[in-house]
Amino acid sequence: MSNAIRMNGVRKTFGPKVAVEGIDLSVPEGSLHGFIGPNGAGKTTTIRMIMAILFPDRGDLEVLGRKSAVESKDRIGYLPEERGVYKKMKVAPFLEHMGRLKGLDAGPSLRKATRDWLDRVGLPDVAQKKCEELSKGMQQKVQFIASVLHEPDLLILDEPFSGLDPVNMRLLRDLIREQHEGGRTVIFSTHVMVQAEQLCDHIVMIHNGKKVLDDPLGTIRSRYEPTAVWYEPMSDGPTADAAVSAIEGVAGVGEHDGHREALLSEHADAGVMVGRIAAAAPMARVELHRPSLEDIFIEIVSADADTDELQQLRAAVRGGENAASEAEVGS
């Protein structure tokens, strides 16, 4: 399978700040890649270089088989992180204008495509409204339409869920999946890792301008085996904790995100340990806790960061409690 995107040793600086440092990347056609990392990691700069909005100081870059996205912009759909519309323009003319800039011909087919998309995202009545009259969420959906109206081969979405309510997050997620299932290459960038975990089949993790992880989600999950079991005793009290901590293969017990957690020893078999913990005391629930992308990210960067920095990073990649809960509701 050929690559939709190929980057080789790409570097970009802004004055003294190195935004992206020596990134190598291959995105196969038809994949759904997630670019994850905290704010300021270099995701947007990388995307802007892919889009030929910015140009690398060093390194090679190929997009859809061309040396620059400038030569293939009409085959790319892009929803930037910094979203905007022509405020005074009406919705349908705005979308038609964007479609025509992407090489579509003006006429009934473009008007029909615009109408159909507005219907699909639940905005059938806004075609003749000015963009400034729409809510932020509505504007976001209009901008998503602008990125897919021309049926691109490559769709790049930078933080597409920010500012959306859970219902619209689910709608947008379904539309992204649909685009992917339609054979399009999708790159999805987010700082909220749980969103990428739910949607992508391949993860590229970026931190401080460097790529720190680039693997299929399945590979990542198998590489980062579960290291804890969450359990919920039938009754409160120290008895259950004492029983669990006494099990061979349990390195310790504690609490994590409101869950009682048994940390497993290095060589303990996770499947066996679930059974042992369930048998140790009357339990309402016992669950193998797989490390999330957030945990994996923290583990990867923990070598270079102190405790305070790790806490800040954890907060950054969670995107706040609301984002996490929205993601859960939307899933």
Binding site: R48, M51, A52, I53, L54, V70, K73, D74, I76, Y78, P80, E82, R83, G84, V85, Y86, K87, K88, M89, H97, M98, R100, L101, K102, G103, Q143, A146, S147
Partner: protein, 458 residues
Amino acid sequence: MKLLGMQTAKVARVAGREFASTALTKGFIIGALVLPAFFAALMPLIVFLVDAAKPPAQVGVVAIIDRSQEVGPALSESLIALGDEDTPDIPSPDADVAELAGAATALLGDAPRVSVTLEPADADNEVVRQRLLEDTGDDTQRTIAVIDVDADAIRRGADAQPGDAFGSYSVFTRPEIDVRTVGRMRGAIDRTIRDNRYAAAGQNAEELRALTTVQRRDVQEVTESGTRDSNQELKLILPFAVIILLFMGVMTGGQYLLTTTIEEKSSRVIEVLLSATSPMELMLGKILGQLGVGMLLLLMYTGLGIVALIVFSMLDLIAWTTIVYMMIFFLLSYIMIAALMAAVGAAVNELREAQSLMGPIMLVLMLTFYLSFPVSLSPSATWAVIMSMVPPVAPFAMLARIASSEPPPFWQIALSIGTCSVGAWLSVWLAAKVFRVGLLMFGKPPNIRTLIQWVRMA
């Protein structure tokens, strides 16, 4: 189709939206059509209101201290006679000035109706002037002015040499006396003193006036189709009108370009646009779109001017080549200025921040504008020729020369078009670099130094 690596269809699309979003708005239509029409309609109203606002007929007493002892009674008669005049006296023997002033007389107020008291020749000026502070309660009895005529106002002193100046007179008034009333009184005094000097010199005043007055007739132009009046004044005005039109077109297009670029950047739609076009395609499209707006205005006002010339049978005053050259130099001047304005628009986040960066551009533009006026008066001077070759002054200066009474030779026009084309290219090249970097820069607005860094960076 591609041109210089750019997709012309995208450039055209951006230009089309830029033009439509500017020229098809209520604001533009009001600004470009309704406001000028409104002001044109307002002119007669202003004239009417000024006419209606004539000063009140001022009454009162004028005290004359005639130290020459020769002109007092005549002055008295002249001032009293003012009340009977329909039009004020214009103190000029120059027929042309008188003609011009004649048009203004309609705007002047009713004649002052005064009585006169002749004071003794040795009266104390200070004492007489005190009357100007007195309130008699009766307007007809109050002193409104004191005129103090020098002893040598009519005849020179004994020790004076031929050619020495005569004495004059001083006027003292109440503060509330209308300046136009004073002007008319002074006109009468001047004429009376002059006539008395003629008489004292043994000359006939009427005869002298006739001798010194030359009635000017209109200059006649002889053409193949016949003889007709020459419009010297219009010929003088034409280069100015052409320069003002050019300036207006450049400024309007440039300002709109600056505003729309800032709007696109501040509304963050710019990145969406950059995902569909290259920065160069975007900038060129925007420049061309606003070029259309400026061209529309230029054509509209030029068209109106031509219609006016046709109506008054003066179309031959302007050569069609002048209009063609005006369009060419508008194009070049506009590109030079507009490209820089687009760069400024891309560099800042809001209009307020653009002011400091616009300063140097406006300075150049204003300098260019004002320098072209002396060029139109001395179109063949060496400095004028040089100015008409050096951008960014060249388009204005050359156009001023073309529209003047001494048009330059064609090779100079061609050379000027050449240098302006280089200037326009250089301006676009510089602007494109700033535009590309600036569009995605948010936060602290850049200064000139930062812009230079961007040019090096891009």
